[in-house]
Symmetry: C4
Subunit: 194 residues, 4 copies
């Protein structure tokens, strides 16, 4: 009930988030290659965030594809996830403009951490709405990626005050981890009469 | 007739409204935790408005799900609602940047008041288009939340000139009131052959 | 063929156009009612443009509902219409910020004129794609509104250099003319086996 | 599987890209025709980019219409294309504000080049997902336009450092080349039991 519109609204918000991040990259005043150089950190943080939002859209897509029932709690758990994702452009811009300084990098990690928690809450609320025999539940399985990612974000938040670039390295590693599409859900659906 | 596209267009506008509000939160120039502090009121008013827009999307979703017939008047009543919601980013930014001063807080309440009135007009126009035996009409019932909210907004507008924080307290109370999903409509649909 | 996606893309672009216009209204620095006053012309031109974009969405909705066949020419005629509508936020902002001065008011009229022409081209290209027995063709009929509006815009463009407020008066009159929904198309569809 | 949502998300992102480009055109402070003049290069580059994004939407529309199967690789190939398209507003603004200077014009060409490569990768990944007997594969055929365009972009990037306006001329020529809709795919679909 209403799954289509939940997907459409989420697609809209995610499409806007992924696109307005590029607005942080203001056209420089000069017209030389050198005038682009100061934008490099902003560009790199844009690439990182683009990949993260892409991962969220991809996983969201697969998760809702597996979902059979949408409750009121699911609608709000979804909005909660979109709220944290909506803070990503701000965190991205701040981190990029400050050349990956410790505090902005930690805030970036905090937003990723909260988004990851929100994603798990959404996942649990869909499973709860479906009850016994949830396709999503068996598809998710032990979900080691979902459990590991928040720990990586916490490690990044702490480590950036010690070695600045460690946070970025950890964010890139988690992104690569997720870039491999979630075959578990795809397989579970194929093995289930839909 | 045309319900799908009305929903899609409304979803698009609401998705953009909920996302561009975050653009009011400009990345600060410093890179210390202290440089984030001045943004706190802007952030808090963003959270409040995000919840309000989320509530409107949620209720809009349920209302149109119950609707069976869309007339030309409904299309315009819907645009009228979207107009007032589109002013929310402006009102949110002004209120946040002025640390919840009286006049901006009152304007924020005025926008919420007009949106609430517009929502009721939309509700009535759908019921009018459906005529006798409207599912939505029986679902809405006495609609005490819909009748109470505008009174709260008026009280907030008046009270903020007397005790500044009272407006915010009232806005939060109304939001909490609505966060409980509108079970009436869900139940009425379940008891009706759709 | 592909009507759904044409509608969805148009809805997306129109939803963004109608929403980003509000970004021209920057939150003022003061927190008094007086600090809102300089925004009044920007607000009024926003209301006018919101109504115009609403009219276009409404008519677009009805026209595509009546369309049975979409050709490649229709896709480009549609993009051509969206191009002129996309210039409305710019024209709106310039007119509002200059308190309805003659040149910006004339440019606003020129954008409305081009959008009206583009709408007619789109209408003709759909009718051409459908060939004999086009539902849309019989629905549109003599189309006196579509023929009259461009003349009004031209009159407004000329008259604003003579009496400044005449352009605005004409824009409001044309908007009121269109606010009455296009019953002709609705009726033609009802009388046609769809 | 999931083609609808892939189309909807792409439509959303492309709709936002095509619309936010107009935000680069800031309303000038004066209210004379002369105050519009400095905006002319920004306007011209907006028109060029609008046409390019329109071409991409159009071809994307036809390509996915022909696609029968969507894999995880297709989802990411699609996001990869959207990434390069998302850089077009930045490149457009920079080129326009610098009156088509050599370096910004070359960057514009580089973004177009990468988008063209990304489009080909997406095309190949759909064909790969469909395997033998792919409708899209036979529809695309020798794809001389797709193979020629990147060469034109490279020629433009090189030539702009020699004769500045040559890049723009080449960009316009490629755009005109593509404006002719891709009849091959349309025909292949018509000859195939869908």
């Amino acid at each position: 009930m209403g799954k289509g519109r939940l997907e459409a609204f989420s697609d809209g918000v995610i499409a806007i988030i992924i696109t307005i991040m590029v607005l942080e990259m203001k056209a420089p005043h000069g017209d030389t290659p050198g005038s682009l150089l100061p934008l490099l950190p902003v560009f790199l943080s844009y690439v990182l965030s683009f990949v993260y939002v892409g991962i969220y859209w991809n996983n969201h897509h697969h998760m809702l594809h597996a979902a059979r029932r949408i409750s009121g709690a699911v609608l709000w758990a979804n909005l909660h996830l979109l709220f944290w994702l909506s803070l990503l452009p701000f965190a991205t811009g701040w981190m990029g403009e400050n050349h990956f300084a410790a505090v902005p990098s930690a805030l970036y990690g905090a937003v990723l951490f909260m988004a990851a928690i929100a994603y798990r809450i959404l996942q649990q609320s869909i499973i709860a709405a479906e009850g016994e025999g949830s396709v999503l539940k068996s598809a998710v399985g032990i979900d080691w990626k979902g459990k590991l990612s928040p720990l990586f974000y916490l490690a990044a938040i702490v480590s950036t005050f010690w070695v600045q670039w460690l946070a970025q390295a950890l964010y890139v590693i988690v992104a690569l981890l997720w870039l491999v599409p979630d075959r578990r859900i795809e397989q579970a659906i194929e093995h289930t009469p839909g």
